[in-house]
Every structure is written in structure tokens, then in C-alpha cells.
């Protein structure tokens, strides 16, 4: 804020240590990122706990919104992974709520967006792929590897196709995490840049203030778009998780 006309759109992604902790040479400090992860978990839990504490037969507004999210995820999971997939419901639902709440919290001014850091989204997607691998191997054993050898391929081509399929499988967590992270990062930078235009234009005097209305309109519109993107990305993450879990449940079909 030293120079009012120079707005740094990246500044919002800085990680600050709140409680410095160092154990055995590793930096395990409690940062603003950790703080907002805790806040995200608290908000999501509080929402579900308070909304469902009444247990009315005719739901109140809050209860009905909680039931809506439950049914939304339950239907998504049943549609893409079958009824067997329902054993993963707590996992998918927690992921969806965490990402959704983190994305939406990040839209508040001065709040930190947890999902705008690739290491966070990568950890989430590695968790998904880890569950798929562990469950697939535990349930189907060696048969899980049929996933990498599509039927109907000539025997000579199988090794080559299998290598490509393995790389394609390994690229899933990368693309899953990159998509969420890039959407949040790009959206927040765009928002900041347009908001910065307002400040720098209005510093020019009368004409500038009149011109600043245009980026203001843009900022409002982009904020609306960002709410949509925040929900959409949580949805995309959840539905891709469901599809990957489907592979673990039924490899080879």
C-alpha cells in the first residue's frame, strides 16, 4: 500500500507465518494458509451441524440446503460409480464441501484462498488417486492392472499402449489439481487487476473517476462469475473423483 497506483495482484497469495514452528529442521509453521484451512473445516462442519441439528420432517431453509448438498453428491456418486460407490460417500462429500467452502471463502476481501496454491490441490488429488490405487489393488488385486490394457488391442501393441495408459493414468492427479488451482488463481488475479484499474483511474481526477465506472462494472460482473467458477470447480473435482473411483470399483467393465 506504499504506492497507491501500484497494485500488486500477486500479493494476496503470499504465505505468512502466524505461529512459527520448526521441528527437526522442517518448517512446520502455522501459516495463514493453515489458518484458512482450519476456518474452512470449521465453517463446513458448523454449517452441516447447525443445519441438521433441528431434524424437522419438513425441513427449514438451512436444513433443506444441507439436504440438497447431500442428495446432490449422493446422486452424482450413484450415477457415476453405482450403488457400490456409496461406500466412498463420506470421502467425496468431505472433499466437495472442503473445496466448495474454501473457494467461496476465498472470495471475501482480505481472505486467503487455500485452493489457489497448487500444493494444496495437488495434495487433494493425490489423496484421490491414492484411494483409487489402494482400494483397486486391495479389491481386485492384480486384476486392477487390466485397466491399463484395453481389450481389443493387438498383442504386439499391448506394451506400448499400456505405457501410454499408465502415463495417462498418472497424469490424472496433475490435471485434476492444475485445473482447480489455475481456475482459482486466474480468477483472483483478474479480479485484482480490474479492481486495481479503479484505484489507478480514480487517482487521475474527474475524468478518471468517470472512467473508473467501467472497470467497476467489470469487477462486479467478474465477482459473479467467480462465485459460479468456485461452485463449478468444486463440482468438477467431485464428479471426476466419482469417475476415478468408478475405475477402482469396476476395472475392465
Amino acid at each position: 500500500m506504499a504506492a497507491a497506483d501500484k497494485v500488486d495482484p500477486i500479493h494476496q497469495f503470499h504465505i505468512n507465518k502466524i505461529v512459527p514452528i520448526e521441528i527437526g529442521g522442517y518448517d512446520l509453521s502455522f501459516t495463514n494458509s493453515s489458518l484458512f484451512m482450519v476456518v474452512t473445516v470449521l465453517v463446513a462442519s458448523a454449517f452441516l451441524y447447525l443445519a441438521t441439528s433441528g431434524r424437522h420432517l419438513v425441513p427449514t431453509r438451512w436444513q433443506s440446503s444441507a439436504e440438497l448438498t447431500y442428495e446432490f453428491i449422493a446422486n452424482m456418486l450413484k450415477d457415476s460409480a453405482g450403488t457400490q460407490g456409496m461406500r466412498f460417500f463420506p470421502f467425496v462429500f468431505s472433499l466437495f464441501m472442503f473445496i466448495l467452502v474454501a473457494n467461496l471463502l476465498g472470495l471475501f476481501p482480505y481472505f486467503f484462498t487455500v485452493t489457489s496454491h497448487i500444493i494444496v490441490t495437488f495434495a487433494l488429488s493425490v489423496l484421490v488417486i491414492g484411494v483409487v490405487l489402494v482400494y483397486g489393488l486391495a479389491k481386485h488385486g492384480f486384476g486392477f492392472f487390466k485397466l491399463f490394457a484395453p481389450s481389443g488391442v493387438p498383442a504386439i501393441l499391448i506394451p506400448l499402449v499400456a505405457i501410454i495408459e499408465v502415463v495417462s493414468f498418472l497424469s490424472r492427479p496433475v490435471s485434476l489439481s492444475v485445473r482447480l488451482f489455475a481456475n482459482m488463481l486466474a480468477g483472483h488475479i483478474t479480479l485484482k487487476v480490474f479492481a486495481g484499474f479503479i484505484v489507478s483511474l480514480s487517482a487521475l481526477g474527474g475524468v478518471g473517476v468517470a472512467g473508473a465506472v467501467l472497470p467497476l462494472i467489470m469487477t462486479v460482473a467478474i465477482t459473479g462469475l467467480e462465485v459460479l467458477v468456485a461452485c463449478l470447480q468444486a463440482y468438477v473435482f467431485a464428479i471426476l473423483t466419482c469417475m476415478y473411483l468408478n475405475d477402482a470399483l469396476h476395472p475392465g467393465h
Binding site: G54, I164, V167, S171, V178, D247
Partner: protein, 134 residues
Amino acid sequence: MAGNNGPDGTGETGPRNDRKGDIRDDELERRRRELGASLAARHPKAIEGEDNAQAGGSTGYGQAFKLSSEFIAGVVVGIAIGWMVDHLAGTSPWGLIVFLLVGFAAGVLNVLRSAGMVAGFGQTKSGAGPKDLK
């Protein structure tokens, strides 16, 4: 909010049930079935809408993000594997070259698969093939 509404809601339903009895329950049951039927009739539309949202996002922006991230992920993973193979086996440029090409192929496969033009993991092509080849 929820606590305030609670006593009112339960207080009202009790006496009414006593007065009207079974007729009201039948009526409710019938209405619920009608509502279920009309909801089920609407459901396919809702699913289509969701599919569109998933594929297109807002305009082509979501689609572009999806396809590019799929392709880049394939290439990046290929490079990472190639680099690791070189690092472990000491076959300096060759692992990188070979796995870059494999990663490229995997990226193209990812893009085609996410665009719905190739069957998914482990599925036979005959199911999705003929319709999608056009």
C-alpha cells in the same frame, strides 16, 4: 433460526393430524407420489443441463481449461518420468526423449478421452466407438 422454527412446526402438525385422520395422510401420500413422478419426469433434463455445465462451463472457457490442462498434464508427467529414469539409470537424454513422446501421446489420449471421442479406461471400444467416430 432452526431452533425458533422448530416448536412452531411440530406444534401445528399434531392437532391437525388428530382432526383429519387418515384422509389427510392418503391425500399427502398421493400428492407425494405425484410430486415424485413430476420430479422424475424433469430429472433427465436436469442431468443434461449438468453435463453441459461440466463440459462447457461458461462458454468455451471451461472447455478450454479442461482440455489444455489434460494435455499439459500428460506431457508434464511424461517429462517427469523421463527425467527420473535418466536420473536413476544414467541414460542421459534418451529417457527424456522417449517419455516426452509417450507423454505427448498420453496427453492426446487424455484430450480425446475427455472430449468423449475415445472410450474410457478399460472399456471396450465397441460400446462407445461407432457412435463417436463420426
